[in-house]
């Protein structure tokens, strides 16, 4: 049976930048384990004749032609930004490093 440990939840929370307290970790780890188990039960039903799939549509090769389409103006693009400067999105100080 799959089980997710408290440490794994803490790690995932850190990756997702979600600040979880000790109490929340205690609370969430068993809950996530139950969810994992429920999902895992699906694999018990799948037989050898059911191929693994990541997409509900049986389609491949859906392409767009390389032709320019109108987008947004800078004003429109920045309309929803909390702050902007020099026609650019203004973001808080970046603490991490470039990816």
């Amino acid at each position: 049976m799959p089980e997710i440990t408290r440490d794994e939840v803490a790690h995932l929370a850190n990756l997702a930048r979600i600040d979880l307290s000790d109490d929340e970790l205690d609370h969430l780890a068993p809950q996530l384990s139950v969810i994992l188990e429920s999902v895992a039960s699906i694999s018990e039903v799948a037989g050898a004749d059911v191929p693994p799939t990541s997409h509900p549509l049986p389609l491949t090769n859906v392409f767009r032609e390389d032709v320019v389409r109108p987008g947004l103006s800078a004003e429109e693009a920045l309309a929803g930004a909390p702050a902007s400067e020099e026609q650019r999105f203004m973001v808080p100080r970046i603490l991490g490093d470039e990816q």
Binding site: G71, S73, R88, R93, I94
Partner: protein
Amino acid sequence: MSATETLVPFDDVLAAYDPALGLEVHVELSTATKMFCGCPTGFGAEPNTQVCPTCLGLPGAMPAVNRVAVESAIRIGLALNCEIAEWCRFARKNYFYPDMPKNFQTSQYDEPIAFEGFMDVEVDGETFRVEIERAHMEEDTGKSLHVGGSTGRIHGADYSLVDYNRAGIPLIEIVTKPITGMGEKAPAVARAYVQQLRELIVALGVSEARMDQGNLRADVNLSLAPKGSGVLGTRTETKNVNSFRSVERAVRYEMQRHAGILGSGGSILQETRHWHEDTGVTTSGREKSDADDYRYFPEPDLVPVAPTREWVEELRATLPENPTQKRARLQADWGFSDMEMRDTVGAGAFGLVEATVAAGCPPQAARKWWLGEMARRANDSGTDIADLGVTPLDVARVQALVDEGSLNDKLARQVFDGLLAGEGTPDEIVASRGLAIVSDEGALNAAVDEAIAANPDVADKIRDGKHAAAGALIGAVMKQMRGQADAARVRELVLEKLA
């Protein structure tokens, strides 16, 4: 951030260690539109004017794959002798950094479109086979401007400003397997690989591939292992090394730095490093995290790409000539010696000479200008020869002016000065700088007469048959004419008058 590293002399590094290289090159495709949306991709547009809900990651926006980008990826894969996947998917690479507004980059993970290829790289007449692990499709990120602090870098900045014009432009990332067995040639192999890869990309016509504009960006992985051990040491990844010359220098620097750490009993930290062009050193970036930390998963908004074998073969038929064969063919056409050819390739000037010859320039003249004049200037300014701002058409035009007698080599060099200073086309520079050779016989005759009158003893020697003395008079005339005379014609006149 200052460089207080102990660097071991290069020869000592080689005595104790075997270097291993791995290169990751990002190629920005020159498609008309982005990878997953119809926004244009032109360089240098006003900030945030080439954006739409998809590349801004607005809720509900759906991506749609650019057919030409997929074709370009397949053609690059084929040109690198890769297998082309029968079926592959895009994946989300999740991370938190404002250069991707979606908080993930759409990339490929364990199913690259091309894999298991190779490219043969020549260094000083020796061939190294570089194995290609994969070439995959992904999208470029936005550009950040860091405001505040003194350095313009992330560290110390108060806030950042982001332009998403570049976000979503198609990228192909080409990853080599570890390259070993190079010894002292490791820096040169790294450089030659990137150079040859660029030539291939240009020949395919899939990218401008200009390193100075970031169309082609190299990440250099380097590790050292004890000599003869046959193992791979811990590597560092030096990011965004943006010229051929820097690739070579960065490899050399990291080899010397690693040896310094290992030699004093230390161990290499697996991390990314930043290359500093001005100081020629690398500094520590971020510690490398496990691949799992990106929580890759298949992109649910895109269906798989499954290139039919017919399509792949159609694309294979569009490939340019194999670079090795092409080199041999052009060497014969041009009449270059092995040494001349090796120097041309080594200087990164092969494609430039080819284009210059195609523009009508005699091969030896093209070689002379690129390898003599341009390579020197590139070296002086620390740029790559291809990024000088002088084009093959310019060089061909200058040589044509020399051939028709409007310029001599000395004046031609001044035209190149003008080209580098951005003064316009060769013809405009000749006109604005007043460089054309004076073909006014009257003016020439007057200058020759004046030189003879001013140097009677030299004139006597020539009258006595000592033609070697003519040089002094020719020099005087050329000086008088500010170099704008045809020296051969001046010589004729001098000898005629003193016969």
